[in-house]
């Protein structure tokens, strides 16, 4: 049974209170980076502090996929199914090639080392967007080798489909964290942990971002922050926040919250119908079911 609150009409159509909440893994310091692999029917995630990428299969269980992981954070797949990693403490975005080697996709901007890639999403044209908050430079237990910040902003970058260009597309965020496109990919949502808000940017024809619009300000004073964020096929936004997961309509208004019994960090759609929600917390991975499928990855 799900514990929900702050609900408005329309919430039950998306989230049934009768849905189960199962804990499928526990014993981590800082879970993050949830990602479903449709072809393998496997769930991937990271433990940042534990410096590992994990893989879990229903009925089989969890195994270490990569360790050490240079404290990998957000994960996604590109259009060819290669694992792309927001490499928090490596201060780079890297990709696992078919032969198992690792390729660096972005590490510098205008000759300066970037901060620490936090979360990552791939657009259908193959471009990669990632948030570049400075947490691996400052956070206890998550330190990069070089902890000096060189850039004077904490923004969102876009790697062009051919990998040749790394452009700053958002520069007005304080601590950008989760990011996701609307289903038609015309708008990029970026949440800002420090400001506790979700921002919306129209995507321009060249892949850049237009002016910022405030989409939603998170409610509640329980533990929990704007961290991971995903969008379902109808455009509803699921974002971590105080108390658990906040479900926000495409109009920017809160529909309700799913209370999670641990500090929630991120979530991902999964299973063959993309209607399961895999939720990472500091210590655990939870899995529940929702009624409207999420935007598929690869």
């Amino acid at each position: 049974m799900l514990d929900t609150d702050m609900t408005r009409p329309g919430f039950e159509r998306l989230v049934s209170a009768q849905a189960p909440l199962a804990r499928i893994h526990h014993g981590m310091s800082f879970g993050e980076g949830p990602l479903w692999n449709r072809r393998e029917e496997a769930f991937y995630w990271v433990d940042i502090v534990g410096d590992a990428i994990y893989r879990w299969k229903p009925g089989v269980g969890a195994e270490v996929f990569i360790r050490p992981s240079t404290k990998a954070n957000g994960l996604t797949f590109d259009r060819e199914g290669r694992l792309c990693v927001a490499g928090w403490a490596s201060r780079s975005v890297w990709r696992v090639e078919r032969d198992g080697s690792v390729a660096t996709l972005a590490s510098h901007y205008h000759g300066k080392r970037i901060n620490s890639p936090n979360d990552i999403v791939v657009r259908s044209d193959g471009s990669i967007y990632f948030t570049d908050s400075p947490g691996a430079l400052y956070n206890v237990g998550m330190a990069a080798e070089d902890v000096q910040q060189y850039l004077d902003f904490q923004g969102v970058f876009r790697i062009s489909p051919d990998g040749a260009r790394v452009d700053a597309v958002v520069t007005d965020t304080v601590y950008p964290n989760g990011l996701a496109f609307t289903p038609d990919e015309s708008v990029l949502y970026v949440n800002d942990t420090r400001l506790g808000e979700i921002r919306a940017y129209d995507v321009t024809p060249d892949g850049g971002c237009g002016p910022m619009r405030l989409f939603h300000k998170l409610a509640g004073d329980e533990p929990g922050i704007a961290d991971g964020m995903k969008v379902d096929v109808e455009g509803n936004v699921y974002c971590t926040g105080p108390g658990g997961i906040h479900v926000i309509g495409a109009d920017g208004k809160l529909l309700g919250r799913i209370r999670i019994p641990d500090h929630c960090t991120n979530m991902a759609w999964g299973d063959a119908d993309w209607r399961s929600l895999y939720i990472t917390t500091y210590s655990s991975v939870f899995r529940t079911r929702v009624n409207v499928p999420g935007v598929a990855v690869w």
């Binding site: 400052y138 956070n139 206890v140 237990g141 080798e145 070089d146 902890v147 000096q148 910040q149 500091y282």
Partner: protein, 287 residues
């Protein structure tokens, strides 16, 4: 009579640690997250480093690098000349230490630092509790593997702040400073024993209290060439007011200098006198 003049600031929030680089005085603007350098020839203070995440105490090591107590990240960091910053050892018996405050580097490159608990909220998720003690810790690098190790040196402190070594490195001076009601505020001397541990401390000076409140203890200190301990203490609300004390190694107060500003934070000698930072975010020089 020492005459003090303000040479830089005020900056946002207090200024903290200082280190003389041979021709200029480095000092930290703690809340601004910056290290500045005051050049006595030009009379100007320029930014040397930014994004320091509340670095307070700073000191040069024998390797020429600048080490700093990065309070908000709960670690001592090494600021290299190429502009990069690396961490040192931050785990004591597998646990993250507290909020480092002040440090002293000895001739072997070992870093002695105070590790008080703090009301500050460290950066990142609050998943690492503080240690069950607040001590002076010592960092030491393995020259072959280049790995830092961390060792607890004091076992009887609860609020260590300023640390300094005698010129021959045979005595560690620790200011135990808890300005809360009934807290201890003492200047202590710990002998460094032949087995590389610290012996029982002697109290060189203790600060009192009166109906206006506790007399503010030593926040920062340094040792001069003759081995005298120069400490910043006091505030206007109680006691004799803000002062620079000069103590002999015995604890005898051989000089005291009233300050024309409140709440001195730390001090260091430059070629043109004694530099003092303040809670008001300034840099003063006395000569």
């Amino acid at each position: 009579m020492v005459k003090f003049e303000r040479v830089a600031g005020p900056f946002q929030g207090p200024t903290g640690g200082l280190a003389w680089d041979g021709s200029g005085m480095l000092f930290t603007a703690i809340a601004e997250g910056r290290i500045l350098r005051y050049d006595p020839r030009s009379g100007k203070a320029n930014e040397l480093r930014k994004y320091t995440n509340r670095t307070n105490g700073i000191a040069f090591g024998p390797d020429g690098a600048l080490y700093g107590c990065q309070e908000n990240s709960r670690r001592v960091v090494r600021f290299a000349a190429d502009g990069s910053t690396s961490t040192t050892g931050y785990l004591l018996d597998g646990c993250y230490h507290n909020h480092p405050n002040n440090l002293a580097v000895d001739s072997k490159g070992r870093i002695w630092f105070s590790d008080p608990k703090s009301e500050l909220r460290a950066s990142g998720p609050q998943i690492f509790p503080p240690l069950d003690h607040a001590s002076v810790l010592r960092l030491e690098i393995d020259p072959f593997r280049k790995l830092w190790s961390l060792r607890r040196m004091t076992f009887d402190t609860v609020a260590p702040r300023a640390v300094a070594l005698s010129p021959d490195e045979s005595v560690l001076y620790v200011a135990e400073t808890d300005n809360a009601p009934m807290g201890k505020r003492e200047l202590r001397a710990y002998p460094v024993l032949p087995d590389d541990t610290l012996g029982a401390h002697t109290v060189l000076h203790a600060f009192g209290r009166d109906h206006r409140g506790e007399h503010r203890g030593i926040e920062g200190m340094c040792v001069d060439d003759e081995g005298r301990i120069v400490g910043c203490a006091g505030w206007r609300k109680s006691g004799p007011g803000p002062l620079v004390y000069v103590f002999a190694g015995s604890g005898a107060v051989v000089e005291s200098h009233p300050l024309p500003f409140d709440q001195p934070m730390n001090c260091a000698f430059g070629d043109a006198g004694l530099y003092v930072t303040t809670a008001g975010g300034e840099l003063w020089r006395g000569r």
